[in-house]
Symmetry: C2
Subunit: 340 residues, 2 copies
């Protein structure tokens, strides 16, 4: 990368500009004596992470990867924050149905809205995908991107989880936040690659995870450029644009990132293809599944679960010796608010 | 940004990690005494650029913009490199038709391929958009993303421009490369937002412009994840995914970047909406059109041109006092190979 930069710079270009980057790398290396992962137990999982990061960043290592190619991708629901009893975006959607219901008196009689307003999610979504899409479009489309961003911002800073009573952004995994920071300090770019809505995550991902909007990949609906009252806006249309899940994740990675990650973190079968795609590149790779094994501090579930089902991906992880993190055994602390 | 990072870091997190960023900014500021834009004449255009960058980066400035929000977007064809006599991707396409023609004996008789093989682009594309799409799909789809990347790489390092005899990557504008580097040294993230193919630009944009694949936004065809011979691949399908031009540019910016740029550079009516979208944000903004006024060193064209037509956008630029760069008057040097 540095070499490539040098090749196109004019001879007169001050070299000091580039020294900045070199110096930054040196300092980062010097500070790595403190434990960067204090919320992880000293188990094999933590060891495998530290070993991987060390071998791809150490100068002269046979596995060295230039900084520009250090791309790490993370699923969000169940990998960076909880997803129980339903993905948190479902709570947002339900709250939007409630908030919008006064403008839609017909929803009292009309499914799937009638069941939703009674709090019966099971009945509401008995109609499968068409019912889900109808509710999604009624709550996520029809406004401008700026308006939607504000709606998400207002919700995420006030809505609370029904079981813990916490803000949803407090229910993020502290070990994973430390891991994100540890990767970045080692020159990695960290991306979210989630089945959740890209515009649902962007308003808070930077503050909560240190991941800027341009490094958030997710599902989306179509938008349209318009001039409204002399002012350009992007209007959110009632039409799916992209579903960033399962086989869609490698597609999303290619569209947004354009190069293959060297590390991927997921927790469900929806992440299997993302891990396969990451694993298939040449050179050192780190593939990791977060296994929800802690019924006491979080939730315990895998192959029998309807949300975050982990079955085929776990089999592949065992067969190919990917790292499987047991939340119960490998994490000293789960949430930032946990006492230890 | 720094404050936000601090709020979610555990107290035990080594502060030295963050000091790196602060130090880097300090050093960058100290080195800005040398002229960062040596290929620009000392005219109003250069002055407006330097003034803008200074006012959004100087600590205490009323127009100060945090580094994370310093997003600058650049059209490619006609803004970062030439686009005459046709957009360079058209030469790539033509060369692909020639290379593939032995496998397609029927093309000798079949339009638009027959005319293309005779070098008659005008006749070939008399059929309009359907003809263009047919040729695009015949040359850009049907292979994996890795295979296509290799095809582009091979072409871009060997094919030469019919008039200048130069590699296409030599026909980039030296003043714009200096501007890209100058912006980055001041904490900006620089993005390409082009009507050209995203996968056509990515294989060389990092080397030529210092812009990594994840900061390239462009037009695309759909891809599909498959396992071929036990190996995951993304196959390029014969179906348009997204057209990143005109009103598509703000959509592409929102999809890929997720926040509004504070600076935008274009050269044609295809860039007008991107500039409008950028201009509509609050705070300091820099809007700029590159005007092709130099028939001697490059080409001179604007509103009467079929390629890179600059008409409505130029009117708006005059009305709203956007910066218009005259290549003839404002650039000391056009291409890196120019003598002065």
């Amino acid at each position: 990368m540095l070499k490539e930069l040098l090749t196109w710079m004019t001879p007169g270009w001050p070299l000091a500009f580039m020294a900045v980057g070199v110096l930054a790398l040196g300092l980062a290396a010097a500070t790595q004596t403190a434990d960067p992962l204090p919320s992880w137990n000293d188990t094999a999982a933590k060891k495998s992470i530290v070993e991987f990061i060390t071998k791809v960043t150490a100068a002269g290592s046979p596995d060295f990867v230039p900084a520009a190619e250090r791309i790490a991708v993370f699923d969000n629901d169940g990998t960076l924050w909880s997803e129980r009893p339903v993905a948190f975006q479902a709570f947002f959607t339900l709250d939007r149905v409630k908030a919008l219901s006064p403008q839609h008196p017909e929803w009292k009689e009309k499914e799937p809205f009638a069941s939703l307003l009674k709090g019966d999610l099971k009945a509401a979504f008995a109609g499968g995908e068409p019912a889900v899409l109808e509710v999604l479009m009624a709550t996520h489309a029809g406004m401008t991107t700026d308006e939607f961003s504000k709606i998400v911002q207002d919700w995420i800073t006030t809505a609370r989880h029904p079981k813990t009573g916490r803000l949803y952004t407090e229910m993020v995994y502290q070990p994973m936040r430390e891991l994100l920071a540890y990767l970045r300090v080692n020159g990695f770019k960290t991306f979210i690659v989630s089945g959740g809505g890209i515009e649902f995550m962007r308003p808070w991902a930077e503050k909560v995870y240190g991941i800027p909007p341009e490094q958030v990949v997710g599902s989306s609906i179509k938008t349209k450029y318009e001039i409204r009252g002399g002012r350009p806006v992007l209007v959110r249309l009632s039409e799916m644009n992209f579903l960033d899940d399962q086989a869609g994740k490698p597609v999303g990675i290619n569209t947004h990132i354009g190069r293959r990650p060297i590390a991927a973190f997921g927790n469900s079968d929806g992440d299997q293809q993302m891990l396969q795609w990451t694993a298939a590149g040449g050179g050192a790779r780190f593939l990791c599944l977060i296994h929800h094994t802690d019924a006491e501090r979080e939730w315990a579930y895998d192959n029998t679960s309807s949300i975050g089902s982990l079955d085929k991906a776990l089999e592949e992880a065992k067969a190919r010796a990917w790292t499987v993190v047991s939340m119960k055994d490998d994490w000293k602390r789960v949430f930032p608010f946990d006492s230890k």
